[in-house]
Symmetry: C2
Subunit: 408 residues, 2 copies
């Protein structure tokens, strides 16, 4: 006879302001399974039956009904033994990468308390970094897992687009939306991967170990010199693991074009996702989020028609770069977490600069794993591995090999 | 020995949701004066010493200090014997003409409870129409006195620009901003005028009775057919008071051009009034108001350079139309108050349509008096008199003569 699993307690109030105060959502884990004994939190865009998915905006919450069922991914995790202990704060409707929410406050970045945690999966990153849960679910449309992973010093994956089912989440821009997760250690991260990446048996995948390393020259040029220098020792160790290492530009033109392409297409979809609700409710938003929607609304069909071929060419280009078993390394973000309370226009500028890095995986749909292996001025900075479509597990395996090399 | 004046009670809570709940601002009137015994309310953009001027936005209120002194106009009224019994709700930072405030709720339109009260001087119009005060202060930048006067069935004046000092009010777009007021009866309205219009002794004025009536053909074409028909009997009586009546187009081109000119110039100024605050605070706004600011921010210096000469030509044109003692009559708005809770884009369209009427006085700086003399389908609709620069008193005197004629 085995004793029953001790279930973690629900969390609705916490010193980090990572959790939604008014959610109450809690789901025990199955008695046994590969994630047995682990606790997790879910960004408040994941449906939990009986609770309203709030999406980081009080008017969204007030105008929607409780979910009928759990999000597919929440169900998969609890069925595998993990307990969901609460919902976490998000940027309004996932529209942000810094994690400052004017309605609910900003989750603390435990690794740099005077700085933003990153968003939009802000509360999930904060809760994991602060040790409140073992792992947490986020989503990544334009960087919303990778950026907070970098800022809070966590492992975070933007998986291959389409790899993990989006059923039961508040979508932003479906052709870009992905579900990711955070953990403090790679072992826990890989345990969660074993559950979530098995979810769609028919999705294409490659488990083979990359044989060539590509250092993304134009990506490193975008990073601050401190970040580029801070990542240099990691590049050297990683290079030593490969027979062939090349420094190569990813964009034939400029990564700024890629970012502009993502802004247009993501914005076009994002506006269509919520326009009827906005029209009817005239919701309260921060100025910044409302501004993004008005900019998104202004994207014309003509602009979309021009951006769509570029998006395809980005996918083709990245497939070509990654052919024959290659992996790309790049900085996750251009800088460590900025200070809290920046001016709106400064944040806008910094968001667009980071978007030049995040749109590489965003437009191509490729998996990107951010690793918390260094600091700049005492603040975490993520180092990213980006691989071919379906190489999600291979990236995690490569990270394990990489960490072993770093320990030597 | 005279007994002391009985001062009206302060109002902070009321069944119409016209007053700011959390203001507490109250000023007794002087013991004697031309307005002795009258109570009034002030839109929450007028400073009252010791109280924060809230401007209809909770983040504005939270980030500003209490006023040092009373607004000039508030001081003038209380010194004349009127008591200020409270502050009234406004559209956020006066940016609206319908009066729906997502933060504080919508003041009731006592004359059409299922419809908007009009704004941005919504609470002032509601309080007067509901009999809670004798008169109330509003402001009119792009229609914010004239529109609620029309929707709530009140007398309301947009005075000659520059006629009443703006000291101590939350400015929106100073080259358009004016202070106006509402009353239920013309006698009370004129008593207030006698105080407020005397304020700047040096401002140009004309007391002469207009000798020619101009029916603004293009303005009536913009009104719904019901409004145009509903105002027809008034036009007939008014015409009978003049030796000469002509039907004439005001705009050489289209009033839509005038509206676009006002939108650009007013928006340009409005954005500059608040941009630093928005940049620092990232305030919560309704989507609609944030949208207006993002549109306003997009106005270029080039557009302003093109609009400025048109504005001057509108002033010249209206001076020419009104030369030799003329007065213009026009509908105040295109329709009675719309139903509450319209879609954002429908409200936007209706606002721009009304702006074609309100920009006539807005661009030219001329006084316009809206009279509550008729209803359409049981809902109030204002009839406006628009006169030469400084003819504010003459318009009120003409209205008195007009009402006498209507009684005959």
């Amino acid at each position: 006879m085995t004793s029953p699993v001790t279930q973690p307690e629900p969390i609705t109030n916490d010193p980090l302001n990572a959790f939604c105060k008014d959610s109450g959502a809690y789901l025990p884990g199955a008695a046994s399974g590969p994630l047995s004994g682990l606790s997790f939190a879910a960004k408040d865009i994941f449906d939990v039956a009986g609770y309203v998915t709030g999406g980081g905006n009080p008017d969204w919450k007030a105008t929607h009904r409780p979910a009928d069922r759990n999000a597919w991914v929440v169900e998969a995790l609890t069925r595998s033994g993990a307990a969901m202990v609460g919902k976490t704060l998000t940027d309004e409707l996932t529209r942000g990468i810094f994690g400052e929410n004017v309605h609910y406050g900003t989750p603390t970045n435990p690794r740099a308390p005077e700085r933003v945690p990153g968003g939009s999966s802000s509360g999930s990153a904060s809760a994991v970094a602060g040790g409140l849960v073992d792992f947490a679910l986020g989503s990544d449309t334009g960087g919303s897992v990778r950026v907070p992973a970098s800022f809070c010093g966590l492992y975070g994956l933007r998986p291959t687009h389409g790899r993990i089912p989006l059923d039961g989440i508040l979508l932003q821009a479906p052709s870009f939306d992905t579900i990711g997760w955070f953990a403090r250690d790679l072992q826990t991260f890989a345990r969660v991967a074993s559950v979530l990446l098995e979810s769609l048996a028919q999705s294409p995948r490659t488990h083979s170990r990359p044989q060539r390393l590509i250092i993304a020259e134009d990506a490193f040029e975008l990073a601050s010199s401190e970040v580029a220098q801070g990542l240099q020792p990691l590049i050297e160790v990683l290079s030593s693991m490969f027979g062939a290492t090349v420094t190569q530009r990813l964009a034939p033109g400029s990564l700024a074009d890629w970012s502009a392409c993502q802004q247009a297409l993501q914005g076009f979809e994002a506006w269509r996702s919520v326009r009827d609700w906005i029209e009817e409710v005239n919701p309260r938003f921060s100025f910044e989020v409302a501004e993004r929607y008005t900019l998104a609304r202004a994207v014309t069909g003509q602009e979309v028609a021009e951006a769509a071929p570029l998006r395809r060419s980005v996918g083709d280009r990245m497939d070509q770069v990654l052919a024959d078993g290659a992996v790309v390394c790049l900085p996750t973000v251009v800088s460590p977490a900025p200070l809290l309370g920046q001016r709106v226009s400064d944040r806008h500028t910094l968001r667009l600069r980071n978007s030049q890095l995040t749109s590489i995986a965003g437009l191509s749909g490729l998996p990107q794993l951010s690793l918390p292996l260094t600091e700049v001025d005492g603040k975490p900075v993520g180092f990213s591995l980006l691989g071919p479509r379906g190489s999600d597990e291979a990236l995690i395996a490569l990270a394990q090999e990489f960490e072993a090399a770093l320990r030597r």
